[in-house]
Amino acid sequence: MNHVELAFRNLQRRQTRSILTILGVAFAVGSFITLYGLSRSVHENVTRSFEEHGSDLTVKRRGIAEPFGGTIPEDVIPEIRKIPGVKDVTGQLLTFAATDKGDNVLAAGWSPDSFYWKTAPLKAGRLPYPNENKVALVGSEIARALDKKAGDDITLLGDKFKIVGITDFHSIINRNQVVVKLADLQELTFRPGAVTFLSIELEHPGDKAEADRVSKAIEAMGKFTVSPSEGLLRNDSLFGLMTAVSSAMAWVALFMGVLMVLNTLLMAVLERTREIGILSAIGWSKERIMLALVIEGFILSAFGSLVGILLGVAGSKFLSSIPSIGRYVAVEPTIPLIAATAVAAVVLGVLGSFYPAWVATRASPAEALEHA
């Protein structure tokens, strides 16, 4: 029997306490992974939805806080198209629109010549014809949720649209998006000639210098902010607020979890004061006793982290399955997030064992042996 085997025997034969401690660590890890994953997923899903359309740079109105609040006049598009390095430019109008059953869906308006159409993977039906109006491409998820198929009608902001195709995008936002002609959405939202974003396709997408040159040239036109698609939400105050709130919830959950775990470890050690006295009486040094307690802390936090990862992944899937959340974000904890949280929990468990172990071994053997 070595220290690790001894620790396992102690934990196995104190099943209730061990399971409760492991669950404490697991809930802390799991809730952090889920909540922090949620906070990151908003940003990641928006980025992915733009990238799926082949957009290298995104242009939006400078200084508007709401994500869909600012508009850009379409007539700047020909001017931007002339900038060296720009391969193509297209505008997109976005809004949340009420549909048949009172549900709100994300509606996008694309111009007939938009390069976005080329990126739309069809699951069923066809793309709209260039001169066809009041037609819609419906994302696969929202089509499933609303029980729609190609050939059905869908109501957007009170007007009927014929569904000509069902798209099968990867990003959860695009899978829940209804795409109509830009002119139709402009008319319905009383925003003639306006788009929410401009998407720029660069001649050389990986060329950072080119991207910087194009960005500067567009920003020099005034009142526009240009960002790479992955940085689109970086300066958006509303998304920033959402991210901050969900991140804060994640950190609060983690903090509470940490306190719970530390308290559990502290109590687990202190209630064994007498045992520590016995170990001392049979010739165990303080260092050896601390090592044994820290090994137990390590095992508990390692198992807790493992269970926490499973809980975090399950929690993320659960959140994604809630329609009001899953329609806009797919909560997918990343491997780095899972790894970092698990490692942090184990390190914390080990460090958290040190304090109670130190407290416990500070007592004289006689006092420890007198402990009930």
Binding site: M1, H3, L6, R9, N10, R13, R14, R274, E275, I278, L279, S280, A281, I282, G283, W284, S285, K286, R288, S364, P365, A366, L369
Partner: protein
């Protein structure tokens, strides 16, 4: 006191509660190798405090404890002695409830250089010596009081200590088990040539020891020595 003494207590005093309660007053005792001694006295006479001082579990507030003539002053010295030279048997057994009988014995060997196989062999032998070879895999709560004390004795002898200290080793046992445990302790002491110091308030038990040290109010008030010890001295 002689050069042959294993353990010497010089002017040992111990007080609790910032000096308000005096448990030991100027104790001077010496114990040689292979001898047996009983410390007798009523409750509160200081006998348990004295035995805890003898193994460093309690630090005296004055005086010096010597092991083979060398003063023992540091925690490390006491830890090393308890690991290899001093075995302790408590009245209430002090076994780990999460460990089997064999594991309770083996846990006292942590820190010894013995290999896993050697440890197992010694644990098996110790349990066999105390008559518990067939109870090795039982948890303490599955054992009787007498069996638990036998496990504690096996643990105390696992490192072949020179000194076995027993604090009321039969205090929680019925008369039949108590007699068996005492027989075991004295047999072990004789067979191994170790020194046995027992705390008791039972004179009948104490008469089996070569020395009887009587205590009252923290002081040694009387000491009776058998002829065998006198001759040894």
């Amino acid at each position: 006191m002689t050069a042959k003494d294993l353990l010497q207590l010089e002017h040992i005093g111990h007080a609790f509660d910032q000096g308000r309660i005096v448990a030991l007053k100027d104790i001077n005792l010496a114990f040689g190798e292979s001898e047996s001694a009983a410390i007798l006295g009523a409750s509160g006479s200081g006998k348990t405090t004295l035995i805890l001082v003898m193994c460093g579990i309690r630090t005296p507030t004055r005086g010096v404890v010597r092991w083979r003539g060398e003063p023992v002053t540091t925690l490390k010295q006491w830890t090393d002695l308890r690991r290899s030279e001093i075995g302790i048997v408590f009245q209430d057994f002090n076994l780990f409830t999460t460990l089997t009988a064999a594991e309770n014995v083996e846990v006292a060997m942590f820190g010894s250089p013995a290999s896993g196989a050697e440890r197992k062999r010694r644990v098996d032998r110790a349990l066999d010596t105390v008559g518990l070879a067939d109870r090795a895999t039982h948890l303490p709560q599955e054992l009787s009081g007498g069996e638990r004390q036998r496990v504690a004795i096996a643990r105390s002898i696992i490192n072949d200590p020179k000194l076995i200290l027993a604090d009321e080793p039969t205090g929680n046992l019925d008369s039949k088990n108590a007699a068996a445990i005492l027989d075991l302790l004295f047999d072990l002491q004789k067979a191994r040539g170790s020194t046995l110091i027992m705390v008791s308030h039972a004179p009948a038990l104490a008469r089996r020891c070569a020395r009887q040290i009587n205590m009252k109010d923290g002081e040694v008030i009387d000491e009776q020595v058998t002829r065998a010890r006198e001759e040894a001295l």
